[in-house]
Symmetry: C2
Subunit: 231 residues, 2 copies
């Protein structure tokens, strides 16, 4: 039995709590990060709080092995006294949306093999894909994730805005969005590119720019230029 | 039996030809768009060629009902003598990647009800989702599609580049990419947004910018600004 203490009540903490509850080999406890006066003992303490308070929260914890869940915070930014680690799940969590943990890549880091193996056992109690990832590699993954997740989602939002402004149902775009994301499981994204930018179809590009507001135009131009430069 | 003549040998024509071959009610013929000396008669002639040669190719066709497959070309850009229409499939086609036609939205346009119904029958012989879409609406859909498909794919390419440059396997990002695209089937993209931009986490944003080349930085800054402005 591994006793896990979860600190935090946000998106990640909520999903993790529900997942660990179902794992037989895990004894799960959870407390708010706002009140750290009485901290239960645990084999692994997971801090799932906003990036910029991880250091502060960790400094108040005397448990043995403390990990955070952030893609962008270094292992050494933890300020607890004893062992440190990282339990980063490369996935996007929203409270309202169920998550399939078997599909999540767990990016783990620890200071020694024993701790790493404990984290690995923990990850495998709820998931299937485990990677050993250094703080430097995690930084890379995190910035790449911003492009393929946050920025991509923003492009979906712009697509949604354009549809709304013109009385077209956004749902008509969903199969295309899905196919675009699945296509790169088989093709390199560079080879999967189609459309007016890569074809240098300036007539269509100009027609499109005429339909957009200033902010959308700026994004359209820069991404078109980047596609055409092969960058 | 509907006799269909397909003009063109590219991505779209190839996938359409294979789909129509399997449809029992369709008699499918195909010719190259480079040699239009002998054009077989057909109930529907589908021109699936590059946007900027649709007008030219259509001007050489004397068949009754001629349609193109483009998202950005107007019905009236067809220069054939008789009836005109549009058979636009809102999906991304690459020769190497199989397509599930049952998921494709067919955006149809014709000059009269009889022609429209013929196009609809044709679409339903290989697919399931049919929409009546005007040339104006199709323009809107096409520019929205550039954002959610071509530009999104370019962000995948940048993610891939960042991984390659830092010896991290790109495949680690695939579950995140898939989840990002599926999330918006349940959440409005605006509500699905997470990450440093929407959190205004300037420390992480600066760290990320330090890891990127000039072109990537420019895209990172503009999309971050646009997310933060709620545009
Ligand atoms: N969401 C994702 O998609 C995702 C994915 C992978 C990793 N992560 C990482 O997981 C961690 C948590 O993210 P999240 O999305 O779960 O965040 P979240 O939903 O915003 O929750 C943040 C948590 O931190 C607490 N908190 C904020 N400011 C605090 C302070 N000054 N003192 C004490 N506690 C404070 C919040 O408490 P209150 O509720 O009381 O404000 C809340 O419990 C972050 O390191 C993030 O980078 C997130
Ligand atoms: N690919 C997509 O994802 C997609 C999705 C929806 C709609 N569409 C639309 O479907 C149409 C075809 O696109 P595609 O992707 O199939 O294009 P493609 O693969 O590039 O094929 C273009 C076809 O046009 C022919 N062509 C090019 N220039 C010509 C010229 N000067 N004279 C005669 N024929 C010429 C080509 O013949 P050669 O092979 O001899 O050069 C080829 O058969 C376009 O209107 C496009 O907007 C494409």
């Amino acid at each position: 039995m591994i006793t896990v203490l979860l600190i935090g009540k946000g998106n990640v903490a909520t999903h993790l709590y529900n997942a660990f509850l179902k794992a037989e080999a895990i004894n799960i406890l959870q407390i708010s990060s706002r009140n750290l006066s009485k901290i239960p003992k645990a084999d692994i303490t997971i801090i799932a709080v906003s990036d910029d308070v991880i250091a502060e929260v960790s400094s108040k914890i005397k448990n043995n092995f403390v990990v955070h869940t952030s893609g962008s915070v270094r292992l050494n930014d933890l300020k607890n006294k004893y062992n440190k680690g990282v339990f980063y799940m490369l996935q996007t969590f929203s409270i309202d949306k169920e998550i399939d943990f078997s599909e999540i890549p767990f990016c783990l880091e620890a200071e020694n093999e024993k701790d790493y193996n404990l984290l690995k056992t923990l990850a495998l109690s709820i998931g299937q894909k485990v990677y050993s990832i250094s703080s430097k590699q995690r930084k890379t993954i995190h910035v790449a994730a911003v492009f393929v997740n946050n920025f991509t989602n923003h492009l979906y939002k712009i697509g949604n805005d354009i549809c709304k402004q013109n009385n077209v149902p956004f749902e008509i775009l969903l199969p295309l969005i899905k196919e675009t994301s699945l296509k790169i499981e088989q093709l390199d994204p560079k080879n999967a590119q189609t459309g007016p930018a890569i074809r240098k179809d300036q007539k269509t590009i100009n027609n499109h720019l005429n339909l957009l507001n200033d902010d959308q135009q700026e994004i359209y131009k820069i991404l078109t230029k980047s596609i055409q430069n092969g960058n």
